[in-house]
């Protein structure tokens, strides 16, 4: 009697321990529910919940939603994946796509999307292609589809219309970008002390080099890598000129809040307080900026030596887990969120993104009396002159982040852009080589 109780106890312990150790190996439990993991602010959560509720109503598929803050998302997803507990549907970043595909985390949804009758031609090409991968290059038009865009994120320049009008400055044209010199002139004109206490309290702009420099560099003919993404090309006169231009805005021309002022209240807050004349605007900002006390509108970024404006367009994708128990329903949720008209309308109405559907976007841009008035600029960027972030389609972004780690002395005017770029390029190259090696090895390993 006693012996058997003891044996039972030991057996039970072992069973428990072993299930704990290798539990949930199957990934998703087949309980007829989808889990969807995403990230976003309050407005986004509410809008997505609304769209998902309608999806459940229409299809009868229950969806369990897991939301995280933006900066916790990557860690949480990685933990879920290594714990073999991958959500059925989740957001994917462009830069992670390749490693997720080669590691067998993402499901190839090409056929599902086709079967669902999604008109891919009506979605932004850039958005869709971002999630195509043919085994060697990401973004190629004939690669297999591993996700659909949740949105595309064109990054335009905005200006404070109320301020420029008050200063008697001619409003910038939405079609003709400023040259750098023209822009600098305007910036100088608006930078001043408005309340007579000898302290400047209105500035031309206030840029964050890490997020705002791309447009300046590209429109000046510079780029971060060659076309194959194998060689770092930041040590060029064009890149140096662009970086120096941005640094000089603060240290030489003094048309931005200085480092101390920016540390007190960052330039994003100052723009919202109406203290800056120009500041970049993304679609995700619109719902907030529309509540501000001043009018604003969109223009292209000032153009460098090429005369063409440039900027980046981001994208976040929605993918399906390769181990999901309900691949069809999961893919259906993806196509619903990305390409369904009603769902898109809900998200667009919430002011958090531009429409994914081209025809809807055209109508949206043509609407009268909207704020910002020049919504078309967003669409031009997506369709015409926006580019992916330099590291969006490489295997990891370590090489690119290296550019910003030690850049502060340049921004403080203690080092020239030229010197810095010459110094940082070899370090970036080493990291890029490494990530390309890894991509190759990972692809080779998954092919075996």
């Amino acid at each position: 009697m006693r012996k058997s109780r003891l044996t039972t106890g030991i057996v039970a312990t072992l069973v428990l321990a072993s299930t704990a150790a290798c539990g949930s190996g199957s990934g998703t439990d087949d309980d007829g529910k989808l889990t969807f993991m995403f990230r976003g602010g309050e407005d986004e959560k509410a809008a997505y919940q609304e769209a998902i509720d309608r999806f459940s109503e229409e299809t009868g598929v229950e969806v369990e939603v897991i939301v995280t803050d933006a900066d916790q998302y990557a860690t949480k997803l990685q933990a879920a994946i290594s714990g073999n507990n991958v959500p059925d549907v989740f957001y994917i970043e462009q830069a992670n796509l390749q490693s997720y595909v080669t590691s067998g985390v993402l499901l190839d949804i090409t056929d599902h999307v086709e079967a669902a009758g999604v008109d891919l031609d009506n979605l932004w090409e850039y958005g869709v292609n971002s999630y195509r991968y043919d085994g060697t290059l990401q973004g190629t038009p004939d690669g297999a589809l591993y996700g659909l865009p949740k949105d595309v994120g064109p990054f335009a320049m905005g200006y404070n219309k109320t301020m420029l009008e008050a200063e008697g400055i001619e409003l910038p044209s939405p079609d003709e970008p400023y040259t750098w010199d023209e822009w600098l002139d305007v910036l100088k004109k608006v930078t001043k002390d408005t309340d007579g206490n000898n302290e400047v309290d209105q500035w031309g702009t206030g840029l964050n080099v890490q997020w705002n420099m791309q447009g300046f560099a590209w429109s000046n003919g510079a780029d971060w890598t060659n076309e194959d993404r194998t060689e770092v090309t930041v040590d060029t006169p064009e890149m140096a000129e662009a970086l120096q231009y941005i640094a000089d805005l603060t240290t030489v021309d003094e048309v931005t809040p200085n480092a101390e002022q920016a540390a007190t209240l960052d330039t994003y807050q100052r723009w919202m307080e109406g203290e800056l004349a120009f500041f970049p605007v993304g679609p995700w900002d619109v719902s907030v900026y529309n509540e501000l006390d001043f009018d604003y509108d969109l223009i292209p970024f000032p153009a460098g030596s090429t005369g063409e404006p440039a900027t980046w367009v981001g994208s976040l994708g929605i993918g399906v887990s390769a181990t999901t128990a309900m691949p069809e329903e999961a893919a259906e949720l993806v196509t619903y969120l990305s390409a369904d008209e009603t769902a898109q309308q809900t998200l667009v109405d919430a002011g958090i993104q531009v429409p994914n559907l081209k025809d809807m976007a055209a109508e949206w841009a043509a609407e009268e009396g909207t704020s910002p008035a020049n919504r078309q600029e967003f669409l031009d960027i997506v369709e015409d002159y926006g580019r992916p972030m330099p590291a969006a389609m490489t295997y990891g972004a370590a090489w690119y982040d290296e550019m910003w780690t030690n850049i502060q002395p340049v921004l403080d005017g203690q080092q020239t852009a030229e010197e810095y770029l010459a110094e940082v390029e070899p370090r970036m190259q080493a990291l890029l080589d490494e990530s390309n090696d890894q991509a190759e090895q990972a692809a080779a390993a998954s092919a075996n």
Binding site: S103, E260, T264, A398, T405, N406
Partner: protein, 297 residues
Amino acid sequence: MAGTASRLHRSENRWALAFVAAPVIGYLLFTLYPVCFAVYASLTNWNGLGVMRFVGLDNYVKLLSDANFLESLYNTFFYMIGIPIGLGMSLALAVAMNRKIVGLTAFRTIYYVPVISSLAAIAILWQWAYNGDFGLVNQALALVGIDGPNWLASTVWAKPAIILMAIWKGLGYSMILYLAAIQSVPRSLYEAAQLDGANGWQRFRTITLPMVRPVTFFLVVTNVIGGAQIFTEINIMTPSGGPEYSTASAVWHIWRQAFRYQQMGYATAMAIVLGLLILIITLIQFSLNRRNSFAID
């Protein structure tokens, strides 16, 4: 009779084995297996998701020339400057708290509150306190005519700022342990010293200090181990590793490699190096302690 006794023995033995098995199995499953796995992972090129490819010692060779890793190691050891300062202060506090003063319980509570507060919440509060213009720290400095730096944005001041916070956070814990140690020093020693004409400082130096030595040793060892793993406050107060990587700690760097750049194999190798460093330092501390130890019979 003999038969029942041995049956009882056997049964007791089995139960004993079962109880012993619980922690042993737990250790094998949750400690030894992960450690072995980590050692293997550190020898592979692995992104944390897919196939692990064996690369031998490549990761270890690489970390020797990884400037950011070396910088983060340097930062981590730099933070440990705070340990002797913190211990000195908490011993002084413990001596003070050992006297009969008004509001003793209130003081003890005040110094202990940071210990039980959430580190994340504290880090956010200190981040505000260190703000260059509106921060409490600089406002206080301005009262005495000092124009304080923009603490967390300065390559020079960011590390001291974090050290200061860590000292403040750890003070209460060390103080409580010291207090307990001081209170268990036999009164007779002090009385004898007093009869011999020892003054307050002599009594402290020759009686209190040696008598609390075991506690000091314990605190140094645990503080060094804990300090080597500093992460939360770094990640919250300087999310990008501080100006020019000047606040990045080793664990922070490892975490970033593992989760942001998906270099799980490489990150594991760095974690193992860090673990070995901690082990070596702790062994050195133990041997130093043995050499200087004494006992009162």
